[in-house]
Symmetry: D3
Subunit: 250 residues, 6 copies
Amino acid sequence: MTHANAPAAAPRSTLVVTAHAGDFVWRAGGAIALAASRGEKVTIACLTFGERGESAKAWREGKELEEIKAIRRAEAEKAAAVLGAEVRFFDAGDYPLTATPELTDRLVEAYRATQPDVVLTHPVEDPYNGDHPAANRMALQARVLAQAIGYPGEGEIIGAPPVFYFEPHQPEMSGFRPEVLLDVTEVWETKREAMECLGAQRHLWDYYTDLAVRRGVQLKRNAGPNLGLPHKTMAEAFMRPYPQIAKELA
Amino acid sequence: MTHANAPAAAPRSTLVVTAHAGDFVWRAGGAIALAASRGEKVTIACLTFGERGESAKAWREGKELEEIKAIRRAEAEKAAAVLGAEVRFFDAGDYPLTATPELTDRLVEAYRATQPDVVLTHPVEDPYNGDHPAANRMALQARVLAQAIGYPGEGEIIGAPPVFYFEPHQPEMSGFRPEVLLDVTEVWETKREAMECLGAQRHLWDYYTDLAVRRGVQLKRNAGPNLGLPHKTMAEAFMRPYPQIAKELA
Amino acid sequence: MTHANAPAAAPRSTLVVTAHAGDFVWRAGGAIALAASRGEKVTIACLTFGERGESAKAWREGKELEEIKAIRRAEAEKAAAVLGAEVRFFDAGDYPLTATPELTDRLVEAYRATQPDVVLTHPVEDPYNGDHPAANRMALQARVLAQAIGYPGEGEIIGAPPVFYFEPHQPEMSGFRPEVLLDVTEVWETKREAMECLGAQRHLWDYYTDLAVRRGVQLKRNAGPNLGLPHKTMAEAFMRPYPQIAKELA
Amino acid sequence: MTHANAPAAAPRSTLVVTAHAGDFVWRAGGAIALAASRGEKVTIACLTFGERGESAKAWREGKELEEIKAIRRAEAEKAAAVLGAEVRFFDAGDYPLTATPELTDRLVEAYRATQPDVVLTHPVEDPYNGDHPAANRMALQARVLAQAIGYPGEGEIIGAPPVFYFEPHQPEMSGFRPEVLLDVTEVWETKREAMECLGAQRHLWDYYTDLAVRRGVQLKRNAGPNLGLPHKTMAEAFMRPYPQIAKELA
Amino acid sequence: MTHANAPAAAPRSTLVVTAHAGDFVWRAGGAIALAASRGEKVTIACLTFGERGESAKAWREGKELEEIKAIRRAEAEKAAAVLGAEVRFFDAGDYPLTATPELTDRLVEAYRATQPDVVLTHPVEDPYNGDHPAANRMALQARVLAQAIGYPGEGEIIGAPPVFYFEPHQPEMSGFRPEVLLDVTEVWETKREAMECLGAQRHLWDYYTDLAVRRGVQLKRNAGPNLGLPHKTMAEAFMRPYPQIAKELA
Amino acid sequence: MTHANAPAAAPRSTLVVTAHAGDFVWRAGGAIALAASRGEKVTIACLTFGERGESAKAWREGKELEEIKAIRRAEAEKAAAVLGAEVRFFDAGDYPLTATPELTDRLVEAYRATQPDVVLTHPVEDPYNGDHPAANRMALQARVLAQAIGYPGEGEIIGAPPVFYFEPHQPEMSGFRPEVLLDVTEVWETKREAMECLGAQRHLWDYYTDLAVRRGVQLKRNAGPNLGLPHKTMAEAFMRPYPQIAKELA
């Protein structure tokens, strides 16, 4: 429904900017697997390993910082491989993740290097985790800077790729409203497999499976009974901070 | 980008619910012409002629009520024909247009008769014209009632077609945020011709041309420089009250 | 700061639309007295006497409906006289006050008869009293209808007078934000005298005096220390649902 | 409509805080010219030249940073002179403009030096340009600091001048609601001339002319038909973050 | 944490106002069972049977209107009995449920008869089902009318019982934000049993079980790890339209 | 109404995070005195003395910075003692108070040292004083960091204590909505005595007494007439950024 990228030859490119190592799996694993399944390129810019804020189990077992970072990196790389994506670690330190000009500049580089057609990141608010809004602010700022020919650095300037915010853990407390419901039924098994790479957060496997079922119920409710959707439709929800560009209303 | 309508054979159908005779031209003429140009069916449910609230010139010239209604009907029919749509008049009386069970029931009938794939109507708020919110309320309520097998009446129940709100005259005062920018460049001449059928509101021809230019500038700004868009892109803006159902993020 | 009314000769006219007999005193007595003190004409359209919902004391004393209405009418007339305004009673029945086409039509008449330069009424929300939002809806709808040459009835059509919402009893629960702070210091004694006409609600005399002190403190805080304002500035707060028209920023 | 500045003698003073060299012309040129035409003093605190983010044409032509800054400075000085204002450059570096204590402190100095009766700046949000919100934050913070006798620095403390936010490029996406419509018809030719000083952004001349026409249409719509306004009224729109202080409702 | 009801002897009373026969089970079954388990009285005012809008299966099976109403009544009575509550049917007709003075008056009667200490009802918005907002409006209006000594009718006037909105089917699309998370773990089996009385909506049994798990996870997340909560905490979410009255912050 | 802290023995603990020396008295003196009167521990983390921004009188009298800090410290210590709380000064410098990692880290330490059951702080917005939002941001961030076992530092990690925002000086301009009304009647004399320790801000004694009366009127209005509340109920208002955890709806 959007403008086709004119001449093209290069496959479409998606850039995912996340705060911690597990975020891209729980929140956007379906969208990533779907894009990869169509032969598109997906790059994950992972700002931290979630080594302090999201690795309680490892700390309780007495592990050290570097060891924990290594574990989480390995898990995330495995999950990314399952989904068909490449992951780059920025190792910026979490809890708190602090927005800095240097880190933003490295993201500008990532934008120019990947030339994304689509950008995924955290939403603006999250009262339970300040690292998520920090990642959001840097992702959005870097996208604008990467568009400016006057901003220094390697690579071509980028266009204005659409941005999608993925769903936070407590959507209603974070101002999250499902504006796009993405049908991920056909790649669901892949997402489940990727989730199971994250051994340290086993309790979330079923939690995010249930969420996909519920978003699937809503997808069907919003699509009407006559679309021939499978009995169990699985879905992910997203917000759009910028207007959709369309050639048709649908 | 949306689910294809499974077996299908019938062309896609669009239902436009408006308060007054001119609304569909100024606010959605491009969307209508675009759908028609693809061979789709477009039906306009026009609740009133705008005979009291939007025909000041005719009243000042001393015309009578019935005469004014006839003039506005003729203009609207001509404009609809230019756009490639069919218009049905409900003659419910404007200024004020009052929501009633009977009128809503007639809209349910229109939904079931046209089986729309897409619905266009006024947004929720308009501090300058209470008829527009009244049309919105009935359009939304009738859509839900038409889905229920238990609601009596002729025709098949409908699915859950996406709804788009078109742009009010003073968008910022009406809580309007452009969520979808529709490229109407290729049907622009048709929309202009339809606008020129509305002789009584000549001052709006340029106003809505300028608006399309500005929305076109925004479309290009949100789409990035690399889409090969024409120099002068013309656009219309819409809101989505329900989530978009997607098979791809784009 | 606003456009001067061109030729002029007639004094400026203010129309106040309220739900109950006491509302105009507590909420806008200062604004009314100020306008009257400049020789302007103020008309209060009082939709009900507040006979059921705001006369608990009288009911407890065993008074009858008509008696209560007579008491409240007398009090309101006295208060209006003190402020320098004329009050018209619509006797539409309160608790609940129900919006009807007939009542709205009578308000259209009042608009056309008084040709207001300024309109005061209740704000959109009040979770403690549904009569206030009902009065708001009718006041706004009638204002728009009164502008239309096609709307039948006596009198000249009106322009688009600015509307001000006065402060509800629990502002933070009613979405009320003080957008205009009106200095009523010079007519404060008059407002106090008018309040004291409302014997049945003696407990509110000090309550609304305290409110005026607090709004006065805010007025000074927003005006800066250098305006030579009196030590004890008294103020009333208002909202503007429509944009201010200005010839100067100030 | 506002409190007259008591003894007075000094002309009124306006301080405009903007992010880039062109902002004051497109967004507030009319307000500036109007104030200047009444003999008031207008000072523009221009935080950057827009050398990186808003000078794409010059970068494409292969110009160097300092050269570009010089071009934009010259253009802005010429435009300011046409409008009758003085412009001070802070050369803080754009894309990104970063809020710092030092820069804020220099703004405090500007506030105390100019003793503004009115302040104009960017609104809080702008999803397309992070420099605008950064300028907003510093402008508001410096205004509060400049009021405190305990905050060190030269000059007298200031009062609490009203603040007006001017219109961003995409108002509906930036939470902008026109709360004040300023009639700039009588200085329109001056604003147009100032716009034409900005040779690098030729495509915006007509864009902002059209915007002024549209805001003028809305001004007339909100003012009513009876104000004797000129056929083609030109206007600029503003928001008020603080309450208006009034001696009269109008 | 609230004020104890002074002398008292009568058990606490809860009034639940719902649009359709199943609503009180899915959305507030836990809250009802919890109150009943403490020996409190719970009365459900069920405005319609959901005979048209929520009985698709029965219609598809060719059942008649009266038959469907009888089925739904029987199911709801059984579920209420399991929860320990009494249900009263108003048979007002659904799809659409229309707010009328008569129906509101019957609700006033119910308020005065039950003298509730707590009120539960639907939230203000639901874009998928207009009957829910209609029930909300009448429930809130009747509560205010029932407080007024001047409003005619049998029974004592009521106080100002706190109101809780229960969770709609698509919370994020209905402006629902979980403001109170109620621990219903100890009555969960009872709620499940009540849900299983609603044979016609079998697909919702697991859906609402999953929802209770998720709200339980959030309860634990918001309560901290140190409260000795059971491994699997089940919860229901509510909103408060009025301020909480407290004797302690907790 | 909340979960009892399981075995426990230690008294409940409250942590109050404020920007300036006087804030805890005006805004939360009642809540503090109430907790202390029940034998609970209350600790005030006072980030600055308000030496620059809230000590205008002392500056006008020509006092020096250190002298002013000493005066404000003494006043605050006296007021805290009256209320029954302990105050810790962070001396971080006001006007502006700047959020830094170091200061946040010191707050983490305070959270872990005091193990609060309840947290009080400023709300998110305050257009009149940027130090208040800065204190809010650090208080919320430190609370989340203090929960993480991976965040380094002394002391045990904390749970997820409920947070309450106290009332700002201009509530309607700061997005403040009274979500909790706390009855402080029984400790009112103590709060008044604490206020009178703040000699430099004598004009606020009555202002905040009036505010408590008004919030008390609202408490009674929201609680209903039948609670046997004292004639003059005094109250403080709070907001909850996180959901309330409840074992009962009340």
